[in-house]
């Protein structure tokens, strides 16, 4: 039993099931991020934890108490909304203490709690202002203050950073992470931004089409994606997925892929059980940073394969150089050092870190387990 259990939970609107048997359990102090494209059911799931949407079947438990049918205000949760949802007619101070007032907390205690939270979030000078007079970042802080002041069991965040500009978003992201580390609270956070998911979470649930595709730590999600959806959704640029055929040579399984000119190259796998796939089609997944020049190839890797191919386009991006080529009829992106000596149209000797390569079954799109 975890701190927050989502146990075989489904959600239907009429005869349409939008969430299918979701099973997630997290411990106290964890930071769970629900990530997925729009319409995947992540916000619906969050609203079900909050009690704003009913649970069709299954159970949601917080501290082993079943929450089905319990009013949102009695679940000891707090929520930060995408639009911040600050009460426009109240001052910042009143916004922060409204929840305490509704729960019958005496005025002196409310004042003290408000001052503590205001100090923590550095919004003391804003307490007498109305939300309309605040900037986006300030509203964001007030919304978090309103959640913090209740000292809830679980914090729920619904895409809280999506209304901020790019720079502020990065700042607030760091701030939320700091807050989580210093307070040790349990957080469920919804976002469609995979970078936010990877940077903030202790665990990620990648969702698509109402299913949890994979639940795991950021490292697991990134390095060992369970299927092609997770592999391509998480990471930017996305993981390259290339059609290949398994050939076994001297007991070592190799991926045979078609180069730009129709000739074939073979890259040896580090995954011995792929010998069983001899002669069959697979999809080969390689992260852009696993394809580089030989000088900057990962020295700790025991399996660097060489691949000679023609460069189609180079895209300098400041810290990195993105190099694209044709592999197996697909555009493939390699992430190189920004000062790599590459030109479009050049034939280049790439270093592929095959320890990080992942094989997918083309029919089920699931990862072929090692």
């Amino acid at each position: 039993m975890g701190f927050l259990d989502i146990d075989n939970t489904t959600k239907s609107y009429g005869s349409v099931e939008v969430l299918h048997k979701v099973d997630i359990s997290i411990e106290e102090g964890e930071f769970l991020v629900l990530v997925g494209p729009s319409g995947c059911g992540k916000s619906t799931l969050l609203n079900m934890i909050a009690g704003l949407e009913e649970i069709t079947s299954g159970e949601i438990r917080i501290k082993d108490n079943v929450m089905n049918g319990v009013h949102p205000s009695k679940r000891n949760i707090a929520m930060v909304f995408q639009s911040y949802a600050l009460y426009p007619n109240m001052t910042v101070g009143q916004n922060i203490t409204f929840g305490l007032e509704m729960h019958g907390v005496a005025k002196p205690e409310r004042e003290k709690a408000m001052q503590d939270v205001a100090r923590l979030l550095q919004i003391e000078q804003l307490l007498d202002r109305k939300p309309g007079q605040l900037s986006g970042g300030q509203r964001q802080r007030v919304a978090m203050g309103r959640a913090l002041v209740r000292n809830p069991d679980v914090f729920l965040f619904d895409e809280p950073l999506s209304n901020l500009d790019a720079k502020l978003r990065v700042d607030m992201r760091t701030e939320i992470k700091k807050l989580h580390q210093s307070l040790g609270t349990t957080i469920v956070y919804v976002t469609h931004d995979q970078i936010e998911a990877l940077t903030l979470s202790t665990r990620i649930a990648v969702m698509n089409g109402g299913y949890v595709q994979q639940l795991g730590t950021p490292q697991e999600i990134y390095d060992k994606p369970e299927n092609i959806f997770v592999a391509t959704f998480m990471g930017s640029p996305a993981m390259n997925v290339v059609p290949a055929v398994v050939r076994v040579d001297g007991g070592v399984p190799q991926a045979e892929i078609v180069l730009f000119d129709g000739s074939k190259a073979r890259l040896p796998f580090s995954q011995p059980n792929l010998t069983a796939w001899d002669g069959r089609d697979i999809l080969l997944g390689i992260r852009p940073e696993a394809i580089t020049d030989h000088d900057s190839a990962d020295r700790k890797s025991g399996n660097i394969a060489s691949l000679s191919n023609r460069i189609v386009v180079t895209e300098p991006a400041g810290s990195d150089m993105f190099v694209s080529m044709q592999l197996g009829g697909k555009d493939v992106i390699a992430r190189m050092r920004s000062d790599a000596d590459v030109r479009a149209g050049q034939d280049f000797e790439f270093a592929v870190n095959m320890e990080k390569a992942i094989a997918f079954d083309p029919e089920t799109e699931a990862r072929i387990q090692p």
Binding site: A50, G51, L52, H71, P72, S73, I77, A78, M79, F81, Q82, S83, A85, Y87, P88, N89, F98, G99, M102, H103, R146, R150
Partner: protein, 293 residues
């Protein structure tokens, strides 16, 4: 002709501009004419009116007609003036406007933020209240008032206006609240506010513009209503409009036009006042939600 400025799409020379103003002033004067006639003749002795020259300014200024219209003119059989009927109207309008506005706000709140099955159909049915002609309900309403023991009372009249007004006020508030962010309601729910706490603490304080629209609309309609007043009011609960009619239509004695004019202005005064005080919010409220920002 002056050089047309670059930043206006419509070029208007000095002559055209003067012509436009001239036409506008003429129109304004034309529209003000009735008010002028009423004001001027309400401060003249009767002899000046009956001697012809209705458009002339008063030669002998007097407030006598106003005093008479207010406190001593013959209304029906009693020489009471319009004063008691004015208070009848106030006693009818204030509760009717307040109750219908609050109920409309409550309906709008439920229809947008506490959605239930068939709520749009219910709203559609409520809208029919805006289209039902007054005449159709006269007899059933009289029967209902009788059954409730409210026949011939100011309270009964107020009730009729509340029932008739709810359709409009619900329409106003529903459309206003439809664009009110639902996340605010959800935040308040999580904060532990109940149904009525959300209404009083979150929704109503943000409803200023639409409340003004509802109050102005209801106030003018109820104050100016004649048919319900004439049909349902008793002798001592008649509203201002009915009393004014009785004053002007008196079939015996001399027709005191100056008193009639003064009385008519008195009857129109409250609605004028409401427009002047709250009018600038009226358009703002009507436009609310239609344009973003």
């Amino acid at each position: 002709m002056s050089v047309a400025s670059q930043d206006t799409a419509i070029r208007t020379g000095r002559v055209t501009r003067k012509l436009i103003y001239l036409v506008l002033v003429l129109f304004a004067l034309f529209y003000m004419l009735p008010l002028y006639v009423m004001l001027v003749n309400s401060v003249k002795p009767l002899s000046e009116i009956t001697g012809g020259g209705m458009m002339n300014l008063p030669q002998a200024f007097t407030l006598e007609p106003w005093a008479k219209a207010w406190s001593s003119a013959q209304i029906g059989v009693e020489p009471t003036g319009l004063a008691p009927y004015f208070w009848n109207s106030i006693k009818m309008v204030v509760p009717a406007v307040a109750v219908s506005t609050v109920l409309g706000a409550l309906n709008g709140y439920v229809l947008t933020k506490w959605r239930f099955k068939y709520d749009t159909i219910l709203f559609g049915l409520m809208l029919f209240a805006c289209f039902i002609p007054f005449q159709i309900v006269l007899i059933p309403m009289a029967r209902m008032l009788g059954l409730m023991g409210l026949a011939g009372t100011t309270w009964g009249l107020a009730l009729v206006h509340v029932v008739y007004g709810i359709g409009f006020t619900t329409l106003y508030f529903r459309n206003y609240y439809a664009v009110f962010p639902t996340e605010l309601i959800r935040a308040a729910q999580i904060d532990g506010a109940g149904f009525f706490q959300i209404f009083w603490r979150i929704l109503l304080p943000s409803s200023g513009p639409i409340a003004v629209v509802s109050v102005i609309w209801q106030f003018t309609n109820i104050w100016n209503d004649f048919l319900f007043g004439a049909s349902f009011a008793g002798a001592d609960s008649q509203p201002m409009t009915v009393a004014l009619n009785n004053l002007v239509q008196a079939s015996h004695g001399v027709k005191e036009y100056n008193v009639h004019f003064a009385g008519a202005i008195l009857a129109a005064m409250p609605t004028l006042l409401v427009y002047i005080v709250a009018g600038r919010y009226f358009v703002r409220g009507l436009m609310a939600g239609s344009v973003k920002g």
